[in-house]
Point group: D3
Chain length 129, copies 6
């Protein structure tokens, strides 16, 4: 029942222009299923691509760190598609097995200590207020 | 009604030993409220501190990246105490305002695109299987 | 290992009575798997059906709006079964592709700005207190 | 801006009847703020109280175990009001400090290993399918 | 320790231009704290405002329905600031107490049945695949 | 694309020692896929096993109650692997169908009332502060 992916050949000119920009920016022969799904709502396709391009660009944080943060959020939200696509992106940017192992270890510990802090209803220290 | 923090002076020797190790490792005069709360269950105090020390140590990822991942998870889980204490830790390690701004922007976008992927029930691309 | 669905033929009279009420209310030949699973605990089956019937009935909000709210929560919780069954219900009530597209766009933006508000630890405005 | 609690004196007869039932069932002089808030929508007040009474009654699980499960969910969802009220209920039913400590420790570990399982995208073992 | 809100008088021209656009679009004398916080990262301020303006505009769904969906997500994510600001926006658009009561009731039921579907690991019905 | 499970025959001595300890402690012929995945980061394997062994051991709470709490968290987080493996563990410890039914019912109600408390922004009662 999920909406079928919209392939380039079936896309409106508006959608095709976004696909072309994604393919050029990422140097890939085809956009992935995420974009082909979101294309069912062209304004969301265009807006999301523009936003993602801006947010994930090199800046004060390097792109690999950004992809690892993306994985951390996606694991916490349990989004399979997002984990796999952003883990793949991080690996293309050079993430090693050791870095991935540490990333997941930090995500695990953060989720544990988040619950300890909440479970004990810890009050903010003066210096954190 | 939350359990009162256990101060060093009132701690058992077992708890005090952990407090001393935290203070030495972090070079701080007192442990923060998180540890004084968890100290109500001494095995959790000892285990959590040992784990955190291991996980957050410099390794394949540098400590600042680890603290930023910790913030990303804590924001996604909406844990106020955790956000503030790990943002403070990241700033002590040199996180700039620009880096914090980009960190939160990535966390925001990841939470948005996670929901788009789930909302459209996007199928895994062949190359991601 | 999940418990097998309880089919009408194998159901106790208590469970069958609930199935019959669901089929009559929805004008369908068979109840769906959700009910056949929850039927393993008959009090939960009866209570959940009574509650859902009451909550989703036309009232101050129309049923389509209620189904769209159900989808919004299910996407945020990442419950595949719930997304698909309530998206189907919304479409039966007339939800168009354009409405679905806007629904998912709002869900995405809300999840993003929720994290921005939490990440920046925004204080309540006076007028919101 | 939150709606003010509806006190017994200002309640409609319909709401008052629910309050009276809660006070009798729990042997308390007044209902707590949760009920006084939900009372703004009387059908939700009545339905929620009936459901909670049924679900939390002694059965195959004893009431203390049920309250601890309630705390576990509330900590994972980060609902302050829910944590405090159900921790209080668990303590009235005899939960000791040691039991509370172990409860929170399990909640923490479960949240950690949940993320490890998701982060590594662990495949179901044959025996779990 | 949260970053202080950036007031109009202290804002850069870039930030001020966004503030002016928000004030004009909403016909309010001042922007609220959300924008004054996000303004610490001007690209996020500009992008978020442009996105929100586009997503929340009247379209296939009316603005009140969109605000109620926003509240539903914010309640599920437990974001206090977001709940209060979007509940206020929904009330300005005409949401009645009865509508708010039904909205919260649906959000509650959806969160309950989401967990029942997941807890019983309900298989997708053929017609939902 | 998920990392392949590391089988005993291919494991380093360090990893094999953990596998041997798990098999002995649980009296099983092979460890399950969770451990074979986490083994890609040996320090996380060793630490997680030591922690889990400590946390889940009989103590102030009996092991069945601990496994049910684990299931409650896993359902709330929507972690399929975790639900199935800990439901299986609970059943090995004697959980009956009736107990499972009540467990899921409590998890469902807790998720519902958590959202009611948050949706109405219920203030803490004096006695809960």
């Amino acid at each position: 029942m999920p909406l079928p992916p919209i392939e380039q050949a079936d896309a409106t000119p508006e959608v095709r222009a976004v696909y072309d920009d994604i393919k050029a920016a990422r140097n890939v022969p085809d956009v992935n299923n995420f974009w082909k799904a979101v294309a069912h709502h062209p304004p969301t396709l265009a807006r999301t691509w523009e936003s993602l391009k801006e947010v994930m660009a090199p800046g004060a944080l390097d792109p690999l760190v950004k992809e690892m943060i993306f994985v951390a959020v996606s694991v916490t939200n349990n989004c399979q598609y997002c984990i796999r696509s952003h883990e793949a992106a991080a690996r293309r940017l050079g993430m090693t097995d050791a870095q991935f192992g540490e990333l997941i270890a930090v995500v695990g510990m953060a989720n544990e200590t988040n619950r300890l802090a909440v479970g004990y209803q810890v009050e903010l220290d003066e210096r954190l207020k």
